[in-house]
Amino acid sequence: MSAVLRARHDVRFAVLPPLALYAHLPWCVRKCPYCDFNSHEKGDALPEREYVAALVADLEGLLPSVWGRRAGSVFIGGGTPSLFSPESIDALLAALRARVPLEPGAEVTLEANPGTAEAGRFRGYRDAGVNRLSLGIQSFDDGRLASLGRIHSADEARRAIEMAQDAFDNVNLDLMYGLPGQTVSEARKEIAEAVRWGTTHLSAYQLTIEPNTVFFSKPPALPSHDEAADMQLAVEEMLAAAGFEHYETSAFARPGRRCRHNLNYWEFGDYLGLGAGAHGKVSYAERVTRHERPKPPREYMAQAGALKESVIASRELPFEFMLNALRLVQGVPSKLFEERTGLPAAAVARRLSTAREKGLLEDDPLRIRPTPRGQLFLNELLQLFLD
């Protein structure tokens, strides 16, 4: 590593951050027009066995960088991971466990879509070791679901939730608001229904138009900025009233049910990213690296196990830390910055005080915590950490 950048501050870790595993299964039945994740429409048959083998090879290539470390969580995301059979998921989880030991009680999440949900599969996933299911419901309104290009109906979504709760005691629902043509009262109705299902976790996002999506080239008519802000308020009020804790910009959990895997991202932990288009971050004693996998599944499968990592310049670390940590409603303890970036507190002191002067960060020296205004204007807050 002769090209390591020596910026103003050197990276030096006393203790390495916690580790998580992410595996990306990139296929979907159909690509949704708003989706900018790395997903590909599946053909007739999925190369399940071949792809799981590639994930394992990929992990083996990464093992030397996390030697001796345990993982606190596994997240199988997509795409639509529930297109894979429980047998494949079982094989994958067994292979991961055999190579990176999981901590006792580790959280193992799998994403599933109602359109591909089958009761038998949910139980199969549970038997394979999955202990948390995340369902991409998005909406309980057939018209809205159609406008989002979703292949499931509202009733299918409801059945999927029932089956998920039957198999798992820890279930997340993904819900979107600010949908084409949606009014504030319609959004409230959707939230009310989501609450009634009594799941342990809700992720409520505003629909945003991302580059390289169908919606980007053919933008639908979305609710105005003010309506979307009203919907966000409604989400926060109604979920708080129902006993959910709002712990991250878009994440709400029953007490004790925060998503540990995602918290690890937001607390700037390490994670291995396996699978097509996956990203990972690994800390070493004196540097932080990232890795990124090729997006096309075929290309990935051909190269898995022979992929490289690159060093994150230390001057980029403060922004990346804040990009994650400031999403947390409670923020993080101030010392977490040094623990997770390996940089001295001085690297960010001036910018923190600017943010406090602007009323975007709470005036608490022991925590780095956004004010309510800082949460609403998180982008403005984050820009203070850019040059």
């Binding site: 992410y22 996002y205 505003q206 629909l207 945003t208 900025h225 003010d226 802000a229 966000q232 910009t249 878009s250 995602n262 991202y265 937001w266 994670y271 990213g273 990203h279 990972g280 971050k281 990232r290 990124e292 980029e316 922004f319 990346e320 990009l323 994650n324 999403r327 205004r373 949460q375 609403l376 204007f377 998180l378 982008n379 403005e380 984050l382 820009q383 850019l386």
Partner: protein, 602 residues
Amino acid sequence: MTPLERIRNFSIIAHIDHGKSTLADRIIQRCGGLAQREMSDQVLDSMDLERERGITIKAQTAALEYVARDGGRYLLNLIDTPGHVDFSYEVSRSLAACEGALLVVDASQGVEAQTVANCYTATEQGVEVIPVLNKIDLPSADPENAIREIEDVIGIEARDALRASAKTGEGVEEILEAVIAKVPPPKGDPQGRLQALVIDSWFDNYVGVVMLVRMMHGTLKPKDRILLMSTGADHLCEQVGVFTPKSQPCEALAAGEVGFVVAGVKDLREAKVGDTLTHALRPAPAPLPGFKEIKPQVFAGLYPVEANQYEALREALGKLHLNDASFHYEPEISQALGYGFRCGFLGLLHMDIVQERLEREYGMHLVTTAPSVIYEVQLRDGSVEAISNPAKLPDPARIAEIREPIIATTIFVPQEYVGPVMTLCTEKRGVQTNLHYAARHVVLSFDLPLNEVVLDFFDRLKSLTRGFGSMDYEFKEYRPADVVRLDVLVNGERVDALSSMVHREVAQRRGRELAARLRGLIPRQMFDVAIQAAIGANIIARENVKALRKNVLAKCYGGDVTRKRKLLEKQKEGKKRMKQVGSVEIPQEAFLAVLQRDGGQS
């Protein structure tokens, strides 16, 4: 040395797009001035920018050799003229250097306002005008109508107008023959006291100022001590020569000829267009007539978007000024925009050109304030102040009277558009002074306040007449006017760069329009932004830009950090390009909001 009777000095008068440059190219080509491979399109337009705009700003010239049908070998000096209303003085000096002019009229479009103005200038100066109908090859050509218009409007005989197509080359030889037959040879005494008319001057990085001159009397050689009569500047002549159009040094320039002079002049302001050059030791008794100091008429503030670019802007303005002495600049401080420059231009087009060159050639990012004219402000104590920046207007209590510049305009429009154009002129406080019909066109004369014209008059005229209207103007006089200063307050703070002078009668409406337009231009921010329009202490309009309620990325789960970083960097970059006034970020376009008006509501 060519005898006088074998010299012809002529220029081409034409409206933009009527084919002047193409015809000049053809003539140069026909006379073998440039080999085919050297012939870039429209060689006379030297600057790229001019080529793109299809106009010629700096007059250039070509000394061409032509063997006529009578077997005689002639020296033809083609003197190029600028083709835009802002440069009418330069045109008059180019014409003063000629004995003849080709009046080129697009046979499909007929006569246009500027052509007429330039043609009048030519005939007043006794220049022989030869009408040429160009683009005769176009199916839409209507030579009969064009001839009628030339006769009706300009009042010269056009029955025998030459018919040509600069594009195909048809008729070019007939034009050259007509130049020889009809344009009188120059007069002048090569032995007389030196009088040379400065037709144009420009700055060359290697030799300093180059002057293009028409020799009226006497002979000029290198090593002669020369004197520029208006400034009294005294220099040693280093080099003389002609353009073919490439520059070609020669031993001497004599009466009747056109050529260039290099004399170690470093400052363009010492070589003014229209000045007379003479021998320092044996000066002419008097300068040539017609010299005028040209003064800027339109002023605007130019500010760097980023404050640290101030020095770079000063340097760029200095370099531009080397090449264009007609624009003025001086440092100015605006509370809203910081350090910048007040710049004076001959007109709106000139302003556009300078601004574009600063951005294109010098990479400057500029905030430009709305253009203003010079007001004469008569104070109660009897003194008079010239105010070119509305923000600098003295306290109204001290003002006895404000006088504004009035221009005499001539507007050419096809008959069907007369109604709307008259409405426009009246709305702009114009006073009609004349109207007459000429074939398909109507010639309207109006006295108009220049202030009204610098805003959106040209654009409105063009759109009202579907591009067929044209206009020309000259300064007439200062007249008392009931004008007031319209201020804009953003969150209670006056933004000096948004102040403008308006007539009292329309102030109310303009204030409302301006506030509404600003509301549309100032993006929502983290705070409410109050926009007020005010005259003195009177708030006449109020608008509110509601605060944004949030600005946050919905999703972030590890993954591709670089994309999120780029998105936020872009948001931050966008803010840097805005001007911070108090805590409010104002985009550059807002400073031009004063300029755009909602037309036709009155």
